[in-house]
């Protein structure tokens, strides 16, 4: 039997799953990343520092805010630029907005059809109108928050080297806070629907190393050190010793490995490492789903995203309250003096830990760049999970094998454009 899923659907980017089996025995299973390479690290060379975030934002349309922020942090580290407390708060809010948008997109539009046995969200408009409307509402309000803080939802215009350009008005923050407060009930409804269908998620488990940012003071998203469930903390500047990128011929995306043959990043990794810093709403939903650290079922990444949605929702409200209490003020644009330097920016984006690493010459022009994307770090782990998971499926019909393998890859919420930028399973029986 051959399974070949070409251009896997309901993921961001192009990837294939190829499985060969004979007489109930797995011969090979392979995860291929076939997306056309876009070679960002090469063509940012020669571009001025103020264009780097704008260019690298285009690595991914779904986590463009995360790329922008990682890029800005790398540039600011290289040029020795400090940002104000207010700017840091707004950037955290921006990151929450993207986390909310991306997680609800993944849970609501990409995973939910599997849970309801549909091909896409479109038939659900008829069959589950209330659920779809709730999902759309959460998605819309997440995007409204992006619009407010970032200028727009994709490829933000308001986040720049040295801070943020336009500070939202007090009135607009109060309005968005009210909408977020209204979303708590909507979120609880959506989470209940996911919980009711969660038994469709396969009970598979494989011991794995998890890597994410870790911090003593908060559920690390914007700032922190590198944390591993195997090896503990590492400084961000030592990221290369953690990611160890390598190239395989079946993939235009690079792969990564650390303490084992592969590791996993993303919502589940963050939960496993930082669960104690979640907000009460998030902790409450983790308990309801039976999600406890350290959980080694990659399918539970979907659940970890639901939990994180609750966290980002509650923490956004808290952040806005804090900002309103401090009072908002327009800040003059920071004057940046270009200089030679090297800097690494690390940030947690919806799919996991992201690194941007730049070297600038004395004119502030990029001389060298390296971006390590969460999905790159997950490719190896997807392969290892597949090798462990596929043999358990071989007694089932082809369609079911296909669906389960697809659900596995989808659980990682891979962002393939990012990672090269991949997906589809084609069967040859």
């Amino acid at each position: 039997m051959k399974v070949h899923v070409e251009h896997l659907t309901r993921v961001e980017g192009h990837g294939d799953i190829v499985l060969n089996a004979g007489s109930g025995k797995l011969e090979s299973v392979q995860w291929r990343v076939t997306e056309a390479p876009r070679l960002f690290e090469s063509f940012v060379v020669g571009r001025p520092y103020h264009q780097l975030a704008q260019i690298t934002s285009r690595i991914c349309g779904i986590c463009s805010i995360g790329h922008t922020l990682a890029s800005l942090k790398a540039t600011e580290a290289a040029l020795g630029v400090e940002i104000s407390t207010q700017s840091a708060m707004l950037r955290r809010l921006a990151l929450h907005a993207e986390n909310l948008q991306s997680h609800i997109l993944h849970i609501g539009y990409l995973v939910a059809p599997d849970l309801f046995g549909a091909g896409s969200v479109f038939p659900l408009i008829e069959t589950h109108p209330a659920a779809v409307h709730n999902i759309v509402k959460l998605h819309r309000i997440s995007n409204e928050m992006s619009d407010l803080v970032c200028g727009r939802t994709t490829h933000p215009t308001n986040l720049v080297v040295g801070g943020v350009w336009k500070v939202p008005s007090e009135k607009s923050l109060i309005e968005i806070r009210q909408k977020l407060v209204d979303c708590v009930d909507t979120f609880n409804d959506v989470a209940r629907v996911v919980l009711a269908n969660a038994e469709r998620l396969p009970a598979f488990s494989r011991e794995t190393e998890y890597v994410a940012l870790g911090s003593e003071i908060e559920y690390a998203l914007y700032d922190g050190a590198i944390a591993s469930t195997d090896t503990g903390r590492h400084p961000v500047d030592d990221y290369r010793s953690v990611v160890n990128e390598f190239v395989v011929p079946q993939s235009t995306a690079k792969y990564c490995r650390h303490a084992r043959d592969s590791y996993m990043v993303g919502a589940l990794a963050r939960f496993n490492l930082n669960h104690d810093k979640l907000t009460p709403l998030a902790k409450q939903w983790a308990r309801k789903f039976g999600l406890y650290p350290v959980n080694c079922n990659p399918f539970m990444n979907n659940v970890a995203q639901v939990v994180e949605f609750g966290h980002s929702l509650e923490d956004s409200i808290a952040l806005i309250n804090k900002m309103l209490n401090r009072g908002l003020k327009d800040e003059a644009r920071q004057k940046i003096t270009p200089k030679a330097g090297h800097g690494v920016g690390a940030i947690e984006v919806p799919r996991g830990i992201l690194f941007h690493d730049y070297t600038y010459n004395d004119k502030g022009v990029c001389a060298k760049a390296n971006c390590v994307i969460p999905t790159n770090q997950n490719h190896g782990n997807i392969q290892k999970d597949m090798e462990a998971f596929a043999p358990t499926l071989l007694d089932r019909p082809g369609r079911e094998i296909e669906l389960n393998l697809e659900m596995l890859v989808r659980a990682y919420d891979p962002c393939i454009s990012c990672s090269t930028h991949c997906m589809k399973v084609r069967f040859k029986l």
Partner: protein, 256 residues
């Protein structure tokens, strides 16, 4: 019969497709107007039977070129979605270097035989716009596209109207929004030659326009370059402005 729409993507960030999802409640209206028969980013089903193909992304490798030609052959109307499909995207910046140079920079840790042209996934990626490979009927420009404009184009196509993509510079919407002109506060901007329709989103937030929607049909390019020079930009800095999204216009070979 509702027209059948298929959405495809090539080398891109898929941010433009995301803007379709970002129509939020209006996507439900869209689903009432057309049958979306393929949309890999959001649905499992696929189909070879469609009227309108909406294609995001730039065309990089021979395998991509082949796939696009097959799509073109099946579609009655082909729409280029976003800057990658319209102009080649930011990744077109990589065309400045040879494929080998690019691969060496990015995949320096690889075994050379794994990433050679013998591997179709890696074969000489040169990013091009769709219309450099096949005939394109309409273009929805922007990086990313303006979702409101996407809806307007859809309405236009369904009612037999020419898609209302503006052909005036970004300055028009920028002035109507009463933004402070960047040139008057020590900045520079490509707005005077860049195609509007974005509601001047970047200058509204104080950022310079990088002409992600391409140029207007008759740009006063010489005057624009003179202005950039007058505002103190070096030749290299001017070239940077000209090539962020619009290197298509300056590329010697394969450009317009």
């Amino acid at each position: 019969m509702k027209p059948k729409v298929a959405i495809f993507d090539f080398a891109s960030c898929e941010g433009c497709e995301l803007q379709i999802v970002n129509l939020e409640e209006a996507i439900i209206d869209v689903a009432k107007l057309v049958d979306i028969v393929e949309f890999r980013e959001a649905m499992k089903e696929s189909s070879d039977d469609y009227d309108i193909a909406i294609v995001e992304g730039s065309i990089a490798r021979p395998i991509d070129e082949e796939r696009l030609k097959k799509i073109r052959a099946k579609a009655k109307i082909l729409i280029a979605l976003g800057a990658c499909a319209h102009l080649g995207g930011v990744q077109r910046l990589g065309n400045r270097f040879s494929p080998d140079e690019n691969k060496k920079e990015v995949y320096h840790m690889a075994r050379p035989e794994d990433i050679s042209d013998g591997n179709p996934y890696f074969k000489e990626p040169r990013h091009r716009a769709l219309d450099e490979v096949v005939k394109v009927d309409y273009t929805i420009p922007g990086c990313p596209i303006n979702r409101v404009e996407f809806a307007k184009v859809l309405v236009a196509l369904l009612t037999g109207k020419k898609p209302p993509i503006p052909d005036y510079p970004v300055c028009v919407e920028c002035k109507k929004k009463e933004n402070t002109c960047l040139y008057t506060v020590g900045g520079v901007c490509m707005g005077p030659v860049a195609r509007g329709g974005c509601d001047a989103i970047c200058p509204t937030y104080g950022g310079e326009c990088e002409a992600c929607r391409g140029y207007v049909s008759h740009p006063h390019e010489k005057a624009q370059m003179d202005v950039l020079a007058k505002y103190g930009l070096t030749a290299e800095e001017i070239m940077n402005r000209k090539t962020m999204f619009t290197s298509r216009y300056t590329e010697k070979k394969g450009g317009e």
